[in-house]
């Protein structure tokens, strides 16, 4: 599960960063984005990438965690590159689905508290 979470976060991060590149903007966005949005996507992308590192460090420790993070990043980039080539329109759907799944995973620890509060 952690593997999927880290992979998903890397994928989202790289999707955001690829949207700042003029070559991919017409594939991902309806119109040319405003410069502020581009900047936001760039910083946001790097931030999400850094966030992806945290569960990797937690699961595997520092040295193996960094190695695993880099490895999963590699294949997230590869998946995105193939999607941009063959199925660019599926990227939005994938990203939204991933955000939903990651939110679920992140909120799962909170769900364990619910039974105590239910009548």
């Amino acid at each position: 599960m952690m593997t999927f979470l880290i992979f998903g976060l890397c994928y989202l991060a790289m999707t955001m960063i690829s949207a700042t590149m003029s070559r991919h903007q017409h594939q991902l966005l309806a119109s040319v984005p405003a410069p502020r949005l581009v900047q936001g996507l760039r910083y946001g992308g790097w931030l999400v990438l850094a966030v992806a590192l945290a569960p990797a460090l937690r699961t595997w420790g520092v040295s193996v965690g960094i190695a695993a993070w880099l490895g999963l990043l590699t294949f997230a980039c590869l998946a995105l590159a193939l999607q941009l080539t063959y199925r660019p329109r599926s990227i939005w759907r994938c990203s939204l689905a991933l955000i939903a799944l990651i939110a679920l995973i992140a909120l799962m620890p909170l769900a364990r508290l619910l039974p105590a509060t239910l009548p």
Partner: protein
């Protein structure tokens, strides 16, 4: 470098350098990458190649496995000075036991005896003799049938060429960020270059690590000068210092100490004694399994049992696992040796080298390393093909093919499809040669080289396009039939291995199917292309029934 000697920028000079360092030893680098990538699963391959061991199915009850194997060891090696039991893992379905007999202290590695024990019953299983995945692993850095010093130099030189190719490749890649996600298929040379760039850049951290660490792993051969200078030629002292202080690996057995107080003279029932020890290990290492059980002086007074953790948390200490040492008679926990702290230099070495070797890697990390190796193999392969494709216009203009182009084109086939067929042939022979045949190990390996040589001859004799198609089909068929051959020759087929949870055996079968589909795709693609280029040459038929293919 330019023939007309005009000045050129750094991107142009690095492009020249990248092409030459890449192509001169590219064929060897492909072989190194291919065998190296497979080596991440060398244990699984070895297991697949010993179908006798497939019947051992771990029950998941660690206590029962340990007790059964301790009983088995009593029968097998009652007088041994120490037993080491490597328990089943996600990679291994049997218990790998090793021991030393009394009087073998000075025999070195030859004094260690080994056996495979059934995980449920503790009985010894004798598999067929084979080098298994170890042959591919050794071939990866020592090649074959030449003195080790020579082959390590050859592989080392190729590795340095690779490092220079990586650096020059990065310098020359002008659009490294713009083209990060760019792959444009069906555009001939452009597509090959895109594929080469994508596999190279996206896995760049891995490629840099694997290449530099490859050099470090061969540093004893390639760069012994500082050692000889500083230690004044005393390599023994250097090796002793590396083993003792810096390396935190520790030994496999507990060091013998003469002043240990003797326990009572009754030999201990280890099967009973071990249960609370396993429970202690579970308590101390939550979520981690016991990897190895070592019994010192089994059946004698003063016996100790050491439990070692499976896998490790850190690459820095080179996977030195946590250990618990118990007195066998009383069951008391004596010590918990911790891994030694590492200096910065050693830590860097360890991290990089262990990442290369994949030692102690759990399934996720191991798969990431393997897939990165696949990307690396694809990087080299696309580079080799790109070199040929890029020069096709030049060949058409000349009206003939220069000998260098022939050489590269034919060796590409021998190395990309040929090596695959040789590997498949190695697996085929493993099952077809009788299990009790003398010298079968040598013949499995001979078969590997015979198939490889045949592929080279075939590539030389046939036109390039035909050779690619025929060998791709050959590789696809050979690999596709292996998962069928497996159960027919005494192994656990895909259905059995999946049902019984023997994922390592199933994984090898699935990987063979994956390889078969890759080569089938290549063959189908090339046949389709051949049909398309042949179609316009045929005169359009007068009958309206045949539509013109686009």
């Amino acid at each position: 470098m330019r023939i007309d000697h005009k000045p050129e920028g750094i991107r142009q000079s690095m492009s020249w350098l990248h092409t030459w360092t890449g192509i001169v030893l590219g064929w060897l680098l492909y072989v190194i990458f291919f065998t190296g990538t497979l080596s991440y699963f060398q244990d699984e391959i070895s297991l697949w190649m010993k179908p006798e061991l497939h019947r051992s199915v771990p029950t998941g009850d660690v206590d029962q496995t340990v007790q059964a194997t301790l009983a088995g060891m009593h029968t097998l090696a009652p007088n041994a000075t120490a037993w080491t039991l490597n328990l089943p893992t996600e990679r291994r379905t049997t218990v790998a036991a090793s021991w030393r007999e009394p009087g073998s202290e000075n025999a070195g590695r030859a004094g260690t005896k080994r056996a495979e024990l059934d995980a449920a019953t503790g009985e010894q299983i004798t598999p067929r003799e084979t080098r298994g995945g170890g042959f591919l692993y050794r071939f990866h850095f020592e090649l074959h049938s030449m003195p080790r010093a020579v082959s390590r130099w050859i592989v080392g030189i190729a590795t340095m060429f690779m490092l220079v190719a990586i650096i020059s490749g990065v310098i020359t890649h002008k659009k490294i960020f713009t083209d990060f996600f760019t792959f444009r298929p069906r555009k001939g040379q452009r597509s090959w270059l895109d594929a080469h760039n994508v596999t190279a850049v996206l896995a760049l951290p891995f490629h840099v690590m694997i290449t530099f660490s490859g050099l470090l792993l061969l540093m004893g051969t390639l760069m012994a000068w500082p050692v000889d200078a500083v230690y004044q030629g005393d390599r023994q002292a250097y090796n002793a210092e590396r083993r003792g202080g810096g390396g935190g690996g520790g030994g496999d057995g507990a060091p013998r100490r003469g002043t240990r107080p003797m326990a009572d003279a009754q030999p201990v029932d280890l099967a009973v004694a071990i249960v609370p020890m396993l429970a202690e290990a579970k308590a101390q290492w939550p979520g981690r399994a016991v990897g190895t059980v070592t019994v010192n002086k089994p059946g004698k007074p003063g016996a100790t049992i050491e439990l070692r953790e499976h896998g490790s948390e850190s690459l820095l200490s080179r996977g030195a696992a946590r250990r618990l040492r118990f007195d066998a008679a009383t069951g008391t926990l004596r010590e918990q040796p911790a891994p030694a702290p590492q200096s910065a230099a050693n830590a860097i070495y360890n991290v990089v080298v262990v990442a290369h070797l994949g030692d102690f890697a759990g399934p996720t990390v191991r798969w990431l390393l393997f897939l990165s190796g696949v990307a690396g193999t694809a990087m080299v392969g696309t580079g080799l093909v790109l070199w040929v494709v890029k020069r096709l216009p030049e060949r058409r203009k000349l009206g003939r093919t220069p000998w260098g182009h022939h050489l590269v084109e034919k060796s590409n086939i021998a190395v990309i499809t040929g090596l695959a067929m040789a590997t498949a042939g190695y697996f085929w022979l493993n099952r077809l040669l009788p299990a009790d045949m003398a010298g079968r190990t040598g013949w499995e390996i001979n078969g590997f080289f015979i198939v490889w040589l045949a592929s080279l001859v075939h590539a030389v004799l046939r036109p390039a396009r035909a050779a690619w198609i025929e060998q791709s089909i050959g590789a696809a068929v050979l690999f596709a039939l292996l998962p069928l051959l497996n159960p027919l020759t005494g192994g656990h087929g895909l259905v059995s291995s999946l049902v019984l949870g023997q994922l390592s055996i199933a994984g090898v079968d699935l990987a063979m199917l994956a390889l078969a589909s890759i080569f089938a795709t290549i063959a189908a693609h090339l046949i389709g292309k051949a049909r398309k280029t042949a179609a316009p040459a045929r005169p359009a038929p007068a009958a309206p029934s045949a539509p013109v293919t686009p």
